[in-house]
Amino acid sequence: MKRLPTGGRLIDRTTTFDMIFNSRRITAHPGDTVAAALMANGERMVGRSFKYHRPRGIVASGAEEPNALMNMGEGEWLEPNQRSTVTPVVKGQSFESQNHWPSLEFDVGVINAKLSRFFPAGFYYKTFMRPRWAWKHLFEPVIRQSAGLGKAPDQPDPDSYEQFYAYTDVLIVGGGIAGLHAALEAGRAGAKVLLLEQNPNLGGRALVDVVDIDGKPSPDWIAATIAALEDMPNVTIRTATMAAGVFDHGYVTAQEQVATYTQGSDAPRHRLWRIRATRIITATGAIERPLTFAGNDIPGVMLAAAVRDYAELYATAPGERTIIVTNNDDAYRTALTLHSAGIAVPVVLDARPEATGTLPEQARAAGIRIETNAAIAKVHGKRKVTSVDICDHTGAGDVRETIPCDSVAMSGGWSPVVHLWSHCGGKLNWDEANAMFAPDPKRPPTGDDGEGFVIPAGSATGDLHATQALANAAEAGRQAAIEAGFTPSVGAAPLATAPTEYPMLPVWMMPINAPYKLRSKAFLDFQNDVKASDVALAAREGFTSVEHTKRYTTLGMATDQGKLSNINGLAILAESLNTPIPQVGTTTFRPPYTPISLAAIAGDARGPLFKPTRKTAMDAWHDANGADWEPVADWRRPYTYVRDGETKRDAVHREILNTRNHVGMLDASTLGKILVKGPDAGKFLDLIYTNMMSSLAVGKCRYGLMCSENGFLFDDGVVARLSEDSFLCHTTSGGSDRVHAWMEEWLQTEWWDLQVYTANLTEQYAQIAVVGPDARNVLESMGGMNVSREALPFMTFAEGELAGIPARAYRISFSGELSYEIAVPASRGQEFWDAALAAGAAHSIMPYGTEALHVMRAEKGFIMIGDETDGTVTPLDLNLGWAVSKKKEDFIGKRALEREFFHRTDRKQLVGLMPENPDDVLPDGAHAVEPGTNIYGQKNMIGHVTSTYYSPTLKHGIAMALIKGGAQRLGETLSFPLEGGKVIKAKIVDPVFYDKEGARQNV
């Protein structure tokens, strides 16, 4: 079958272009989906199933398609598992079917189908256990290769992606007649409305199943309604935009296939919408269910409504002789559509005892043969349908007749699309008459006010008939508007008129008493190859919870997430367990509704925009002057400045010695700077820090520690009291955001009665440390404020000007040298840096990086958060007990620090280490051991190296370490066994290696 002579509502039959499928050229019309084009080119087999590698054809016409998944594009443009039923055709685009080797037609994996008798549900749990090595080296590699579907690209993604943030009063998901009319109602009431439709076109089923709405054929009504909506400025419509997930508080994600995107264009490929909606209307329609009979997976067996979709919308059909099998009136529409398109319909098999509704009578009048109490016993064919065995539905499959045909259209009834309703907790009722789970309007997902925020509309409510669907959509639109605070106008809802339909008959296994032979060929999940017999096996083996059945059989775990298989599967489970379906229940509906690209989730936060690098005011200067960069939290900092001919180690040593002997400069701008201000600022900081801060005099600085509630040290820094009610708290570079959030958490959740504001000023200042014996000379020669020993003693600060730049100078030291840290407005940081360099030229000033900083602080025994601390270390362990107030009534960690274990003398305590051999440098993290083993049989580890360097100042390896009972072990020699048998011996010494008296800074 190629194109039908007439029809094709969505395609432009005057234009054709080529595409490539499995290296074959196929022709398409604009408006086709890829699946429609494949069908119109006679392609029957479009893929292989997951487990048995059985031939698979197109089943559906929408998002529920389990089979027709393609590798789309090539190279860097490759996208696997593309659902061809919803993919618009693009000229020249290439597609490849998946999961076969070497080709779709000749697939080695089909051996699995031959052996399927040995591979029932969960067979892999029962075998592949011996010999033990074989799982990893033999069985699993084979399974991994044969599993999976499409291929990942082997190159980075060349496309761009973006995200939109939207707020709306009413979000409507679904652009069928229900969604459109609900939008009209809410829009007329004045609500801001956003309507999303996953397909490129609006109208839903009413484009195919034409009904009369207020005297107009539904396609005309749809066009008029769209026009009316487009005239409303408060209504936005987005097509090709699939609502993916509903989350708490009316948060919805949706993925848009951007219409202007083409391969290689600048337009983003996908746009992820992040929507906050006061009310969400799910006008998501319903999905037809397959019937479960032997051979229902053979290419050519399709959903009945999909068959007429292809005929009406794309003017194509799966064959020239189509048998229809149904349990309801709706499928007769397919019979009528095909009949009038000139396609033979040898018979309609109706499982019901009689078929006398309007639609069956129309079919009968058209001369179509109808068989009642009829079922398919078995479909014949391998790669395509060749004939069908007919039997009594109420029997066990005794063949009444075999009818040749090339396709089968099946309908097992409809299931409303309840995914979005259910994502956030909406509950379902079992509707016995229509054999479906439908939203229970009394148990919607609720928001923080306890009110439901999702309203189902149209056939998604379970009201499948157009008249009721349109009526309830009007009601939903008004309700949403009212609940969002608007007043809808009063008016009659449009009236849809369609043939009445007689009740359907629930049919779960066809025929009812099918034996194992048929049940083991009757598929529930086409992609994952789950058969009716598999579900029965699961039930027999005690996997009686629907979640167990799902996991044991993989039913509904394929890329379609069970859109076709779930209800049929749980009905078979219920039958196997002899319990009612509602008692079996459904599995949980999880976002996304259909898969969305990882790239869209990431949005534009990729490459340089993924965690953008924070740069200080002097960053460009560093980069131009040999900076070897090191990432520090979100910043980058010069590790050292390498000069020609130097190694990094040479550079670091040069910087240290120059600073110790002359003067060095450090860009310390990354240090966190948090302003704490308010009448209760001192009281607040007394609670945050272990030390007393309220007693700090204005103009003075104090080194402070912060502990967690558990008493562990987590940040430190110098606090300066700027005025009576303002403190500037310096934090570690990595800790500024964390400390600020920590302060805010306490202020907002525990101490909300304190009158305190905090502000993170980290980026407002450039901060430059001028360090070394000549530091004062350099600053004095820059001109400005008095930085003399008397005017600016140790641990004080002063404000003024230096080199004409407003500056705050802190007399603090992290190196043990005479040292100032100068804060200037960030905008003048480079100017100050240049001025200091110029002023220091006579004193051989040079910048130093983070490594020199680390070595110099280690030489002085100063701790570094993250090196000497790891979340298990208290101030007492680090000999910092002096900074833990004993006077304060309370502070964070006080109670924890009083616990007995924190005062044991065998805790790991900070010590210094000097390797026996002066040139040895202990490796980072090396552990000291004592003879014997611990209770676990592990080597007896008594502590570890926390910081370790070669000190060019001392010409000796030095290290800091946390050693059990270290405070009492001064002078002992410890063994550090390294990989490969080497042992370094080191002596425990005082952790202050250099200038213990502090003479160098006391000048």
């Binding site: 490759l78 696997p80 598992n81 008798r117 067979f123 749990y125 029962k126 256990m129 011996r130 799982w135 991994r144 599993a147 999976g148 579907l149 990942a152 690209p153 082997d154 190159q155 980075p156 993604d157 997930g245 989350f247 992040r274 194992y516 083996e541 005690g542 919870s545 167990h548 996991r551 890329t559 949980t588 999880r590 976002p591 996304p592 898969p595 690209s597 990882l598 790239a599 989730i601 990431a602 949005g603 936060a605 490459g607 690098t613 990432p631 008493g711 090196d867 790891d870 298990t872 274990f901 490796p923 980072d924 993290g925 090396a926 552990h927 209770i935 049989g937 080597k939 066994p977 990989e979």
Partner: protein
């Protein structure tokens, strides 16, 4: 229990698989048990199994309010590793990992333990130092674990982007004997063998109250009636605080939703587990072909097992930077599980203030990998009444004493 084997499969193939029996008995509660375990997740079922196997105690009931394995056992990202820093953690996780190696054979159930290796990336100097320290500690603790350089990493994971525009890969901690297992199968395998050894696994049986007298626990009230017991153990991640409240004591636990997601299945692109802590993401590929992706915990306490978007977004961004070829793949499904977080992010295995009631909880984001070791240690405690070597450091009173076992240095993100 009829043995599973290729032979049995072949035999059943010729009789339409009609001979397979229930994997575990559909037990009805007896009036009294020696031990009642609340919670039929991996830890609870493993505890029951080792009670029967190691201690000959099989008059045991495992009560489950839903379906067995339906909590975090069926929701985690299936990573198994033991390269922990602290001695106590290394001991119990390594015990678990080594039991996993032979668990399929022990249970006669293929739990698909797949030691394809776990790689933890270092993307800052600080992280590299932390892994160096862990590697030293692991070596001395007898755990195979090594520091690998970027070139070795590229060999192990060819799809990795070492140069990341932001955080270059500086090295990694590689545990070749770590890997993954089929999470559901772990629960099912333990349930089957425990049931065969006499343990009653009772699903759809919710504990509604705890009975006690002056001497301690006497039993539980359940939706299926009262059950008496001599010893009671709560192993109910996500509901630990609720059960403790019923029994009249409190636990130092916060319950948070941990987020996870999988991609659509694709042909194999990555063999091992990779964890990138600096950028917050970890990933492996299941035998089905799905990329299994772990995110972080929500920033607020709750009991809903639902997915949220924020952490997934952050995690996906990080992983696309780390593995650029995954960008065009699609997210199939996301979900959440409720994890118990303790003050030191280590578990609690121990006695409670109520005599006869024991607790196993607080595994936080890393419980799956511990299941066999945890069950082993908990069974020993229940059998003897006292925690043994593996469990003793994880006692509840450590929080009062300050004897914390903090792995935060080695677990900046969920693990």
């Amino acid at each position: 229990m009829k043995r599973y084997s290729a032979f049995a499969l072949a035999r059943e193939a010729f009789r339409n698989h009609s001979g397979w029996e229930r994997a575990w008995r559909a037990a009805v509660p007896k009036d009294e048990y020696d031990v009642v375990i609340v919670g039929a997740g991996g830890h609870g079922l493993a505890t029951a199994y080792y009670l029967a196997k190691n201690h000959g105690i099989s008059n045991v009931a495992v009560l489950e309010k839903g379906w067995l394995g339906g909590g975090n056992t069926g929701r985690n990202t299936t990573i198994i590793r033991s390269n922990y820093l602290q001695d106590e953690s290394a001991a119990i996780y390594e015990k678990a990992r080594s039991l996993y190696e032979t668990l399929s054979q022990d249970l006669n159930y293929n739990i698909m333990f797949s030691p394809r290796g776990v790689l933890m990336l270092a993307q800052t100097e600080h992280e590299l130092r932390a892994w160096k320290r862990t590697a030293h500690a692991n070596r001395l603790a007898g755990i195979e674990s090594e520091l690998v350089d970027p070139q070795q990493i590229k060999k192990i994971v060819p799809i990795i982007n070492l140069d990341g525009p932001r955080y270059p890969v500086l090295g990694g901690l590689w545990q070749p004997r770590g890997g993954t297992a089929r999470h559901d199968a772990v629960a099912w395998g333990y349930a089957r063998k425990a049931s065969a050894m006499g343990v009653d696994i009772i699903q759809q049986c919710e504990v509604t109250g705890v009975d006690r007298d002056a001497n301690g626990v006497t039993g539980v009230q359940t939706s299926k009636g009262a059950i008496r017991c001599k010893k009671l153990c709560f192993i109910v991640a996500g509901s630990s605080g609720l059960l403790a409240e019923m029994a009249g004591f409190r636990l130092p636990i916060e319950s948070l939703a941990l987020q996870a997601t999988v991609s659509e299945p694709i042909k194999p692109i990555i063999d091992c587990v990779v964890m990138a802590n600096t950028v917050h993401g970890y990933l492996s590929q299941s035998d089905k072909g799905e990329l299994v992706i772990g995110g972080g915990t929500d920033g607020f306490n709750n009991y809903t097992q639902r997915g949220s978007f924020q952490h997934i977004e952050e995690t996906i961004r990080a992983l696309i930077e780390t593995f650029p070829v995954i960008s065009r793949l699609k997210q199939l499904r996301q979900w959440g599980g409720i994890v118990d977080i303790t003050g030191d992010r280590s578990p609690i295995i121990g006695k409670t203030p109520v005599p006869g009631i024991f607790v196993n909880c607080g595994w936080g984001t890393g419980g799956f990998k511990a299941i066999p070791g945890s069950g082993w240690a908990t069974a020993e405690m229940l059998a003897t009444g006292e925690p043994g070597v593996l469990a003793q450091s994880f006692s509840l009173d450590r929080f009062a004493e300050g004897r914390m076992i903090d792995e935060s240095v080695a677990a900046a993100v969920a693990h």
